[in-house]
């Protein structure tokens, strides 16, 4: 009986751990995780800049397909707002962690979307400096 209970508690503990694992990181921790890479890319790296991130977020660029692209095009001019997918109109939940607590809490998810969206908007990968500036900007939005 005692053993069974202990086993059940252990399983519960593991299950809870797995559930909580989804929110393993804070946005600040994810932001900081880009510092070593940023230093590697540029030995003169000092810090991430919310204002540079804001410019990056709004910067409009003409894609080789002729379409005008920007982060804001889908995520809207205010990252506290929900956006929508240009083609399918599926809702995109707000990017600002002040509004959406799930944002920037899962490093694999963050990298997945940087990989996709940097290619779609810039037609190249983003630098660690750009990623850090972008997150720093979103964290500054209150």
């Amino acid at each position: 009986m005692q053993g069974k209970m202990a086993m059940r508690n252990a399983t519960l503990f593991i299950a809870l751990g797995m559930t909580l694992n989804v929110y393993a990181a804070t946005p600040q921790e994810i932001l900081n995780s880009y510092i070593p890479q940023a230093k590697q890319e540029n030995p003169a790296f000092k810090e991430f800049s919310p204002s540079r991130g804001e410019q990056f977020y709004h910067a409009k660029r003409i894609h080789s397909s002729g379409k005008q692209m920007s982060c804001a095009a889908c995520h809207t001019d205010n990252p506290k707002n929900a956006g929508s997918h240009a083609k399918t109109h599926k809702e995109i939940l707000p990017l600002a962690p002040a509004i959406n607590k799930e944002r920037f809490t899962d490093s694999a998810k963050v990298e997945k979307w940087f990989k996709r969206n940097c290619q779609d908007v810039l037609e190249r990968s983003c630098t660690a400096q750009e990623k850090g500036d972008f997150i720093a900007y979103l964290l500054s939005v209150k």
Binding site: R8, L12, A15, T19, H85, K87, H89, K90, K112, N117
Partner: protein
């Protein structure tokens, strides 16, 4: 009391994380429901940007082709990490339109459609839908299944459940 709470929490976790609930109710009748299928990764990854399309809407070769070109997915980068890509491909293939189904039979063996809206089966099923209906704001395009088939993501395309928005 504590033990009861733990037990309750545990059952809740089990209920919420039940990974697969498969009702293998094959129905070959046109316009009828596809079997209920589930895979957490498929649901998360494939429905981030669009309707969660049922695996039974395309034949195996179509899913394989689609899943091997995710970096250029209808003009967008939808790339996945290799383990997720493998898991979702396996799931889609397992539940793809079977060779004997009317739907799969409507797709010529020489073609590998990536858009289910381009298949003969889709066109025949929707022949009564006028061009202006597709363009209604609440519909938008033929790829927006959910506009008229509320249960599309669960594989329910039954005719009596169709409600076309005004």
């Amino acid at each position: 009391m504590k033990r009861l709470n733990a037990l309750f929490l545990w059952s809740l976790i089990v209920a919420l994380s039940a990974p697969t609930l498969v009702h293998a109710e094959e129905n070959e009748n046109e316009g009828q429901s596809l079997p209920r299928v589930a895979n957490a990764n498929w649901k998360t990854e494939c429905a981030s940007c669009h309707t969660l399309y049922h695996p039974g809407l395309l034949p195996e070769r179509s899913w394989r082709k689609l899943m091997s070109g995710l970096d250029k997915h209808f003009g967008e980068n939808a790339s996945l990490d290799p383990p997720s890509q493998q898991e979702i491909t396996d799931f889609l293939v397992k539940h793809s339109a079977g060779a004997g189904s009317n739907y799969a039979k409507s797709v010529p063996a020489s073609t590998t459609p990536l858009r289910m809206t381009e298949t003969a089966w889709f066109k025949r099923q929707h022949r009564e839908v006028r061009a202006d209906v597709w363009k209604r704001p609440k519909v938008g395009s033929p790829s927006n299944c959910m506009a008229c088939h509320k249960g599309a993501e669960q594989g329910d395309f039954s005719e009596h459940a169709v409600a076309i928005p005004r």
